[in-house]
Amino acid sequence: MTNGEAILEFRGVTKSFGGRAPAVRGFTLSVPRGQLVVLIGPSGCGKTTTLRMVNRLIEPTAGAIWIEGRDCKTYNPVELRRRLGYVIQRIGLMPHLTIADNISFVLRFMGQPPAARRARAAELLEMVGLAPEEYLDRFPAELSGGQQQRIGVLRALAHDPDIILMDEPFGALDPLMREQLQEEFKRLLRTVSKTIVFVTHDMDEALLMADVIVLMKDGQIVQVAPPEDMLRNPADEFVASFIGRHRVLRQASEVSVADVMIASPAMTGAANGLARSLELMRRRRVNSLLVHDQEGRFEGVVRQADLQQHIEDGDQSPVGSLADRAVEALSPSDSGLTAMHRLLEHQRADSLPVLDENHRIVGLVTRGTLVGLLGDALRVASGVQDLNVADPTLPAPASGEMAP
């Protein structure tokens, strides 16, 4: 996104309600034009209060908010709000108005003639792929929740504001619908360049949507960073724990084999018979077994095809005699990246055993495990840039070769 001048600036904004601890404290942030800034944090962290101070639905106790080089307070609140777009979780479409009138609601107050308002509503409906002739004259109650919020977003675009405020806009939708709307909205944003302040408590959403994430706690900013930076370098323990599971997905080089391995792979004792081992494979739905000795030390790998062949040949020897020992192994402390390299070098193996220092089996890494890891890394990267910019530290040919 562009590094234009700041269109929106928070300067030491503080808000206290009554005698309690301030809901927002010394909030200072500069939002460049065209950026999508996500305010995120646990409930009660002051993110919604911060948002509502921008359009003066809440007035700051101290500090100032500047929009396009002008202090908010110098605007008439009504005039100010008509310069901004506003989308809320509760959607808040006017139930007594048609979709056309809902979309063009603000235009009506700006004195636009009905025909122009209707035309604008039709134009916006087309932008999100809803047939105007089908929707213009319907009422909100006739629409599904997802459709209603699409209208809610269009309504915020109708008067073409430079800044749009969104308060958990997709929070009330079911997960499937939410994802769909997030994607749609991102696509929409590419056609209309807007500065957006977006409140959410959902880290997945933040990673997907944000140019910059502002993580808040107890009314204060904890960290401001692009999603990728926040994932890689969380400012403190709180950030790390809030990011939670995403932290594990940071980079293949930072993830250890112990984090991703299958901890209880299918194994068989070296002294077991062939048929019994084959049956075990069937039950575990795998095509190879790790063979171990009495102390649990790695003896090799036995594959389904070999087993079947030897059973047909009437071979009575124990499974240990068929174990392939020429298999490379990983240690639990190896990085995910090392595991990828080893697997790629070993075209023949679709999995590698993980052994401790005493050569005992502690787990298994399969190609599938690593594809999952790589997929997550790609997904995180795609939250920042548009797509297909994989982490440069990953082996370049990986994506093609890793397919199971």
């Binding site: 506003y86 808040g92 006017m94 007594h96 048609t98 107050f109």
Partner: protein, 216 residues
Amino acid sequence: MTLLLHTWQFFTQHPGTIWRHTLQQLYLVAIPMSAAIVVAVPLTMLATRVRWLYGPVMGFANAMQTIPSLALLAIMIAIGLGIGVLPAVLALFLYALMPIVRNTYVGIMGVDPGVKDAARGMGVTSWQLLWMVEMPLALHVIIAGIRSSLVATIGFATLASLIGAGGLGSLIMEGMGMASNSIVLAGTIPAIVLAFLAEGLMGGLERALTPRGLRV
């Protein structure tokens, strides 16, 4: 059977009397009802903006409705208003307030907070919010309040004859005094018809004023 016949005879022989009493009854209802609507609706709307007003307004309206209707009429005499149309109209006015106040308040406060938040966030003034959002959405609830108030007032108005306000009640009183059931019926039947008419008309109005978007 003879009672019905006698009643019928009374209707046909004294159409002027019945018409006069019915007309009086209509005045006795229309004047206090109009006043109650004109006072209660705006005042309650104001109370949705100026919160401290709601307590006194609702409290007063509630108290008036709680007083037994007959006692309310008697109080009018006691406070020196004497008898006649004026004290009756005042009593009916006070009695009619509560359902209108209650429904106006409930109707406006019951508008989805999300809708109000969205409207405010889009820059409607407080006045526009009332006229273009809250009023259209609350109107059918307010009408429902006026409807129950109106039906109660039509009933109560027959008692107003007790303090000399006339109306169909005086016909009923007359009949009872003369032990003539047919005259009593000549008063009650039009009163009942009026009540049903009011109920039906207001019900229709309520439906007509429910926004289409709320009916789907």
